[in-house]
């Protein structure tokens, strides 16, 4: 069985990929998916710690993160649709009304 270290490194790589995607892409939908990638990497780390420490609290925490991710996606995509109605684009550089 792979030790907890390998899972930590995999989780870090996925989190970093999510960060890179969030900071460099322009399509707002892909930004959403990058955030999902980051949340999933944290889930993986929680589950691997849970299996290492023989503590089921980590798995319960993952289920709460599922709930938060579902809420985030529902509200975020609704906001995105509202923005799309005004701007007719999903390019984040065009959402600049509040930009200073």
């Amino acid at each position: 069985m792979a030790g907890v270290n390998e899972y930590i490194v995999l989780s870090c790589i996925l989190f970093g990929l999510g960060t890179i995607g969030f900071l460099t892409r322009r399509n707002a939908l892909i930004l959403f998916m990058s955030v999902e990638l980051m949340l999933n990497s944290i889930n993986l780390m929680l589950v691997s710690f849970s299996a290492t420490r023989a503590d089921m609290g980590g798995q319960v925490m993952v289920l709460f993160i599922f709930a938060v991710a579902a809420a985030e996606v529902a509200v975020g995509l609704a906001i995105l649709i509202c923005l799309f109605k005004h701007v007719r684009s999903v390019d984040i550089n065009k959402f600049n009304v509040l930009k200073w």
Binding site: V4, F15, G16, R26, I30, M33, V47, A51, F64
Partner: protein, 165 residues
Amino acid sequence: MDLYFIVFAIMAVGAGLFTITAKDALPSALGLLTVFIALSALYLHLHAPLIAIFQVSIYAGAILVLVVFVIMLLITPDEELETSQKNMSYRILGAFLGAYLIALLAIGTKGVKDLIHQQTLPDGFGHPGMIGSLFFKEYLLHFEVASVLLLVALVAAIYLAKKNI
């Protein structure tokens, strides 16, 4: 390290790379789906069958379908989106920050292995019944707060979907 972990870790990282580099949003969503499936297989390996099932049914089945639905809704045929930020400094800064974060986390967690000792798993570890009893004994308040959060998100999404916002 065993073969099972290596196969699914490579699958997850490759699909994650594809997710953030794909030109259009829809192939990107398919890459994310592959990441979810690979992570679900890793959860099975980590004695978390319930999480693995929820990963497929909630993430791949509900959240990603919602994202794909919105992708279909928001496609504008005349708009040709640039793949990444036009400003070169944004790209470099973003890639640098991400690589820095990966390196920092990988170095910072290097000693964790020595701090955490592998405990022997009790009988029935990760069984859905045990998670359910944890939910309703130790984490009841958190459970209720999460359900209120979902209700608030539901109301907010319906309000935002009204015509005149």
